[in-house]
């Protein structure tokens, strides 16, 4: 049973990393949002599986939160924003997709090396989980760094947060209140960022954050 549970957890966490790489690969806004929803669904599955094997019913709540907020509400909201702003086609990457993918693969390798070495002697399930979670966090950061569009930066941020939740659920005994507060903070971040997107758009007719830099004050 243990081997099987481990394999399934491994499979789900691994798929999350894979979907993170998929996120990096997308060059259309609507596709990006779909993949992000898939990311959140996989997270919900993974957390649910953890709840099952750890016998921790409160993790089901976490899974439900992930499913409802991150797989349905936030992607839905982002879709509306994208439609309203009429930017469902544009994605401007800073460096080429291929280079970004290579960097992403390197980051996954780095996360594996660091985590497997740092957690030597820990529970193998938690080890793998943490290594995958760190990869997802790094990939999320890479996404935020390598995109110019504010919406895709939001998506990068959300996927980064997914990685954090994955890491947290892998560790046994995380209290529910932490989960809920994290979920809320993400929701609030989403709302704030959403409002800001509209404000930016109103002012500058674009959500390219480069436009913000032009009003960043006088340059030394």
């Amino acid at each position: 049973m243990h081997g099987f549970a481990f394999d399934i957890a491994h499979l789900l966490a691994g798929s999350l990393v894979l979907v993170s790489l998929l996120l990096l690969y997308q060059d259309r806004m609507s596709a990006l949002l779909n993949v992000f929803a898939l990311h959140a669904v996989l997270l919900a599955l993974s957390v649910g599986w953890q709840a099952h094997i750890q016998d921790a019913p409160h993790l089901y709540v976490t899974a439900a939160i992930a499913l409802i907020f991150k797989a349905i509400i936030i992607p839905g909201g982002l879709r509306r924003i994208v439609k309203k702003l009429g930017i469902h086609r544009e994605i401007e990457t800073v460096v080429g997709i291929g280079l970004t993918m290579l960097a992403g693969i390197a980051l996954v390798a780095l996360a594996m090396v660091v985590m497997l070495r740092a957690t030597a002697g820990a529970d193998p399930l938690a080890r793998e989980d943490l290594a995958f979670a760190l990869s997802i966090v790094l990939l999320g950061l890479l996404m935020m760094v390598s995109r110019r569009n504010a919406v895709s930066q939001v998506v990068g941020f959300m996927s980064l947060e997914n990685g954090l939740v994955l890491a947290a659920t892998g560790a046994k005994g995380m209290p529910l209140v932490v989960e809920i507060s994290v979920a809320f903070s993400v929701l609030i971040a989403f709302i704030v960022i959403g409002i800001f997107l509209f404000r930016i758009r109103e002012r500058f007719d674009t959500v390219d954050i480069g436009a913000l830099d032009q009003v960043g004050g006088e340059r030394g």
């Binding site: 980051l107 780095l110 790094l138 950061l141 830099d213 960043g216």
Partner: protein
């Protein structure tokens, strides 16, 4: 027995209350007299209490202030009591002087509130019994004195002085903070008693010594950390200059003694080499700078640097003897240093009062424009002359006694086993002698050019003697210079408990010796009787006057009218400060100041006068401070770019840092 510490703290509280009162009253014309008068009373009481506490056992009190688990410790032991006496004596003298002098202040509201607070701050530093109280008071002292330096802020030079002072003060506090951190160790025993018990490894102890030299030395004015001192001290009103030069530098000396002699534990012998070198260089450089100055107050400020060097030579000697368990000799050297602390507080206050009086009477600081003041300001001139003789270490005044004691300690150096010290101590002694001789030249120049001869400007020709309070303060200090010089035994015996507490030995008791003779080691070796010297000088000088009057003055002589060595009627033909300093500048200046002289001769037939240009550079600025400033400027200019990056670049920066750290972790 906590009487002493409680009453000292009460005095500090009264001074702080005076500061607050001054804020409320500064608009009224009478406020100046009231505040200075009350400050005089409070500091006098504090001084008397401190003198009485000299021989009393240590007392300590913990106030529920500051850190909740520690409180604020205040403590009076013999060392504290001595420095409290010096601080409050200087404070009382300056306050009394300022009752008269303060009336000339243009903007009293800028001086009055900070003045009592400054004295309170210095008292608190000395009273502090833990590192937090100490550093807090230290910063308070620095800030209030900075405010006083900036009281004449309309002058751009004063603003620059204030800026440099603030920078150096912050640097000094940082060093002291680190020193206390090391002394407290990992357990965080920040009370001085805990630090005293805490044993440091040799490396850490040496580090503490270095930090104490930097931290206390920057406040005291050790070369090359002295650069702020000649800028800031003259910028303040004269009575504050007297406090800063005469007293605040002593608080820094206290900090050094407290850390190095008390808290850090037993010294290594090579520590003394460092202290001796720094002290010697400071003494010689300070007086050389002083010799080149034309601003009277700046000259006095540089002379403070010199005297701090002399004090540090004494402290270095004490360290050298103590490291070799020669406790009697250490006591002698330390007594010399502490006595010089007291003496310098007395005569430097006197000299700054004199400079303030001259400034008040003439509005001039430049000695090249003064001259002939001895005819117009007789009492000020006499008092200034006494101060000048005392600071030049000439008998029968007090400066001689402390330097003589230090020399006696130097003469004991052949008994030291280490060859490094055997060579170093006489070198330091030579530098001390050189500094003393140059100080003599410096004050002959300072006094002679400003007070003797004929007035070089209308302002100097029409100078009027200053008010009674100022005169009384100066006369009192001048008398004290004489008293401490002819009866030093009282001061030396008074210092015995202080020295006993620091090096566990003391000088032989002096008051029992017949005719108040000072016998530092044994009467077969050396002794000094100030009273005898004074009587001899007084007698021989009066006899000389009588003989000259009787034999020479009556004889009729014929000569050119009004030609006393200056045949021209123009005052410009007199010996000037510049011409007096020129030979010394020629000897030392080319190396120390990189002085260059250039004569521009007009072509024959050209009517213009020839011009002699002397350029001097300040070595510490060129070698240390300017490069540091350039480096900081370059670094900030470079960092400034970080201020204007795009959001994505900020994220990239964070991301890259994270990746870099992870890589380090992976490769480690």
């Amino acid at each position: 027995m906590t009487m002493a510490v409680v009453s000292e703290l009460a005095c500090v509280g009264a001074l702080l209350a005076l500061g607050a009162l001054a804020v409320a009253l500064a608009r009224f014309a009478a406020a100046s007299r009231l505040i200075y008068g009350l400050s005089f009373l409070v500091t006098s009481v504090a001084c008397v209490v401190a003198v009485l506490a000299l021989a009393a056992p240590a007392s300590e009190i913990v106030l529920p202030l500051g850190l909740p688990w520690m409180g604020a410790h205040f403590r009076v032991d013999a060392l504290t009591a001595f420095f409290l006496a010096v601080v409050n004596f200087g404070g009382a003298a300056a306050s009394f002087y300022a009752i008269g002098y303060g009336a000339h202040e243009e903007e009293p509201a800028r001086v009055l509130p900070f003045y009592p607070a400054f004295i309170a701050g210095m008292n608190l530093v000395v009273l502090a019994g833990d590192a937090f109280a100490f550093l807090l008071s230290w910063e308070f002292m620095s800030l209030t004195s900075w405010a006083l330096v900036m009281s004449h802020h309309k002058d751009a030079e004063n603003r620059r002085a204030g800026y440099v002072y603030l920078l150096m003060a912050s640097f000094g506090t940082l060093c002291l903070l680190l020193a206390f951190g090391l002394l407290a160790g990992a357990d965080g025993g920040y009370v001085f008693a805990q630090m005293h018990a805490h044993q440091l490894s040799a490396t850490l102890a040496a580090l503490v010594l270095g930090l104490a030299l930097l931290g206390a030395g920057s406040k005291a004015g050790l070369f090359p950390l002295h650069v702020w001192l000649p800028m800031a001290h003259p910028a303040a009103p004269s009575h504050v200059s007297a406090l800063m030069s005469g007293v605040m530098t002593k608080v820094a000396v206290y900090a050094f003694i407290r850390i190095v002699f008390d808290l850090v534990g037993f010294p290594d012998w090579w520590w003394s080499v460092v202290v001796l070198v720094l002290g010697g260089v400071t003494a010689v450089m300070g007086v050389l700078y002083a010799l080149m100055q034309c601003d009277l107050k700046r000259l006095l400020a540089y002379s403070t640097v010199e005297n701090i060097g002399i004090i540090f030579i004494g402290l270095g000697l004490a360290l050298a003897f103590r490291a070799n368990h020669m406790d009697g000799a250490a006591a002698l050297a330390l007594t010399g240093a502490l006595l010089h602390v007291l003496n310098h507080a007395v005569f430097k206050s006197l000299l700054f009062f004199g400079a303030g009086a001259v400034l008040n009477a003439t509005g001039l600081k430049d000695i090249e424009k003064l001259g002939g003041l001895i005819h117009r300001m007789r009492i000020t001139s006499t008092a200034f002359l006494v101060g000048a003789v005392a600071i030049s270490a000439l008998p029968p005044f007090n400066g001689f006694v402390s330097e003589w004691l230090t020399f006696q300690a130097v003469l004991l150096s052949p008994q030291i086993p280490q060859w490094g010290l055997k060579l170093m101590v006489p070198t330091a002694g030579t530098m001390l002698a050189l500094a003393a001789a140059l100080a003599g030249a410096c004050f002959v120049r300072g006094f002679g050019v400003s007070f003797l001869g004929r007035a070089r400007s209308a302002a100097a020709a029409e100078a009027q003697e200053v008010d009674r309070f100022s005169l009384a303060a100066m006369t009192g200090l001048a008398l004290l210079c004489l008293l401490l010089g002819i009866l030093p035994a009282f001061a030396i015996d008074g210092l015995a408990p202080v020295v006993q507490g620091l090096v566990h030995a003391q000088m032989p008791r002096q008051l029992g010796v017949a005719w108040w003779t000072v016998v530092p080691i044994a009467s077969s070796r050396s002794s000094y009787n100030g009273l005898l010297v004074f009587l001899f000088i007084a007698f021989s000088a009066s006899m000389a006057v009588v003989f000259i009057h009787q034999l020479a003055s009556r004889i009729v002589r014929r000569g050119p009218a009004w030609d006393c060595g200056t045949p021209s009627a123009s005052t410009a033909t007199q010996y000037t400060a510049g011409s007096f300093a020129q030979p010394i500048r020629r000897v030392f200046g080319s190396v120390v100041f990189r002085a260059r002289e250039a004569v521009t001769m007009p072509a024959p037939g050209d009517g213009r006068p020839a011009v002699l240009n002397v350029s001097m550079t300040d070595l510490p600025w060129d070698v240390i401070y300017d490069p540091i400033r350039d480096a900081v400027n370059a670094a900030t200019g470079w960092l400034n770019r970080l201020q204007f990056m795009t959001i994505r670049r900020y994220l990239t920066l964070v991301f890259m840092t994270l990746i870099l750290l992870l890589l380090v972790l992976a490769i480690w």
